[in-house]
Symmetry: C2
Subunit: 231 residues, 2 copies
């Protein structure tokens, strides 16, 4: 079923930089799991039983209100970490947006391993700090940007995130990509309704900033203009 030695994300995930014997130990306590698109891995508020690393696929982290309003609070890509170590409850739901493959650990096992391996904790700390920065930048979008600015910002962001999936360059941006999101999910990321998202897509296409060859594919025709519209 695969091991850490052959893992495709071993150089980018938190496991990177561990000694071979440490990797072997981590291999023992983790196991691989496949998720179908739409399958839920963790539920908001449940006790925190497991953590995981993404091997491939895209997942969403979301918070909801009782009346059904939902906000996606994070998107998770290959090599990203999922879950809440050292905590009692999972603070958000986790659901696969595409078919995905993850490397899961019982939270207890992972916590113990982490405490004994400062190198791993350090990696996790750096990752968490980066994620906090990203999340706070997103708050500016949610609190202060218009619908057009939100969609433009979002398209620029995923054009970067989707790029490494196709080629091996760590940083880059592709002018043409498939979104792993439905319109509803784009709305849930941006704090907008599906109708507003659709109208903004149409407007940008009409203005020649982007092209929409199919439902979920986007072509950036004028990146400068898109950046200008991102606010």
């Amino acid at each position: 079923m695969g091991s850490c030695q052959t893992c495709v994300v071993r150089n980018r995930a938190i496991c990177a930089g561990l000694e071979p014997d440490e990797v072997a130990l981590l291999n023992d306590i983790g196991r691989r799991r496949n998720l179908a698109a739409g399958e839920q891995l963790l539920w908001e508020g449940e006790s925190a039983v497991l953590v995981a690393n993404v091997i491939h696929g895209v997942l969403k982290l979301s918070n909801s209100l009782e009346d059904g309003r939902e906000q996606i609070v994070g998107l998770v890509y290959p090599s990203d970490f999922i879950g809440r170590p050292f905590g009692a409850t999972t603070p958000y739901g986790v659901e696969a947006l595409t078919d995905a493959r993850v490397c899961v650990f019982a939270q207890r096992d992972f916590d113990n391993f982490a405490r004994e391996h400062p190198r791993l904790e350090h990696k996790l700390l750096e990752r968490t700090l980066t994620e906090l920065d990203r999340t706070r930048k997103w708050m500016l979008l949610l609190g202060r940007k218009s619908a057009e600015e939100r969609l433009a910002t979002f398209l620029l962001e995923i054009s970067q995130r989707m790029a490494p999936a196709t080629c091996d360059t760590p940083e880059g941006q592709s002018e043409e990509f498939e979104m792993p999101f439905s319109r509803q999910q784009v709305g849930d990321v941006l704090g907008l309704t599906i109708e507003t998202v659709s109208r903004q897509f149409t407007k940008m296409k009409r203005d020649g900033v982007i092209d929409l060859p199919s439902r979920r594919s986007v072509v950036i025709r004028d990146r400068m203009e898109l950046e200008a519209r991102a606010g």
Copy 2:
């Protein structure tokens, strides 16, 4: 000028749980600094030169757009940690909302100390994970809640945060407190304009949910109703 041994937040800040000799070392690399209300400690985008712990006072973390729109992305209270360890640039501005006292460290010194003291890194990791959870919960507010729900949620939150300042109980909530925020700053936290904030305050007062004895003081008259309005 004060030392770690006599520090009022020593049992709650990241220093908690360190051995006496470790505390002494930390004492050597840090220094105290007083900030006047409105004084800026860090600027968004500048190189990350220092980190700090709050001893007393309240500070804001904020992101801005070129055109002046601002979003407060975090509020920092006594014993909280400020700054971006292990990073090149400070991702947000930090400004004192009240007169404040902080314990500052050169980022280099702090990073080195942290790497050599896993106990400290672990504390920092737990703190960062908790902060990330709190931040993500706030995204639901910014993305999906109405103005009334936002203000109600905010008042409930600060009634909790302000409580420990007056008494020694770690967890609690006071029905009467002074806000360290102007109306503009409340707006910057909630992603609303000052006028909308003011109108919502007036409405809640008119409805008997809260009372506003003075500019910055709030009395919660009907906590149940306030919770109902928080969504």
